[in-house]
Symmetry: C2
Subunit: 191 residues, 2 copies
Amino acid sequence: MAINYSYIKFNKVKTNNIKQGYKNRGMLLENDINISNDYYRVKDIAYIYKKPTPIKLVKVDYTKNKVEEGYFLTPSTTDYNGIYKGKYIDFEAKETNSKTSFSLSNIHDHQIKHLINVKNHGAISFVIVRFNLLDKTFYLSTEKLEEFIKNEKRKSIPLSFFEEYGKIISVKYEPRLDYLSVINQMYFGGK
Amino acid sequence: MAINYSYIKFNKVKTNNIKQGYKNRGMLLENDINISNDYYRVKDIAYIYKKPTPIKLVKVDYTKNKVEEGYFLTPSTTDYNGIYKGKYIDFEAKETNSKTSFSLSNIHDHQIKHLINVKNHGAISFVIVRFNLLDKTFYLSTEKLEEFIKNEKRKSIPLSFFEEYGKIISVKYEPRLDYLSVINQMYFGGK
């Protein structure tokens, strides 16, 4: 049942994606990751999910299963986590419309702290950053992110830093955004 | 900053808990787990979080950061996950008012499937079940849960199964519900 459902969801999102074409690719990073995660699950490769957005509930009608008043909260962790090849995976994904740098203001301080904490406890943790206007999506490890923050006064990570220390994640048919192939290179000897 | 905040949250919840006393202990399983997770984080022992409840957003006023109409969705995974000693941790927690058994209808099929999937990929996955009226809280591994489902026609797990194959999790001052001590016994040679 679960697998069938995943297939349905996977195909539905994929079709929507194709309909929208490549024009709005920049807006679709979250969607690209979600359908890639669906693909990894259907293929029994990895179990990685996006966490729901936390909402403070103020008024709820439980008889209707309905939220009548709620407020978005700042997430205390990253958006994505799960398991791959026995390892705990944790990451945040962000887009930028800058052509030259990625502002660290896009990631909350406690999210960066979280990435560092879980990395220190043995997680594979990282960020995925898409430069929309350059049509480039990068993997950057938490180690490199931490190094940048420690050594640099700048509040933006220049594109050149991603080019030097990150890895390009290619966009393809399926999985749409194969970020686990980069994890394979970095952590599992390319296998 | 993040650590201070955790301390504040931790103490606040703990105080509320003490105020409520032991009377409603059964209603407090989620709270017990949350403050235990806060404790583990403050002490840099483990990073385990409750996932927010997924809500389908129907009407949102983004200028006010406000949800005006939303509906609770069935979660596709378990409530809790994170990392401990380099291992991916994943579990579901449930209470029952039965004195004799725990009905499997309390856990969605896809949540059980999820627990089995992540276990097969190397996770430490389990359920925490509290028998409110007996004042007993059990750890039960996904392996044992899976065995029960495969071998038994019954749709309820009898208390005796928990007593034989589960582990009691003691409730104490702090951490309130020290389920990681059971994980230590089961997976890390008691350390």
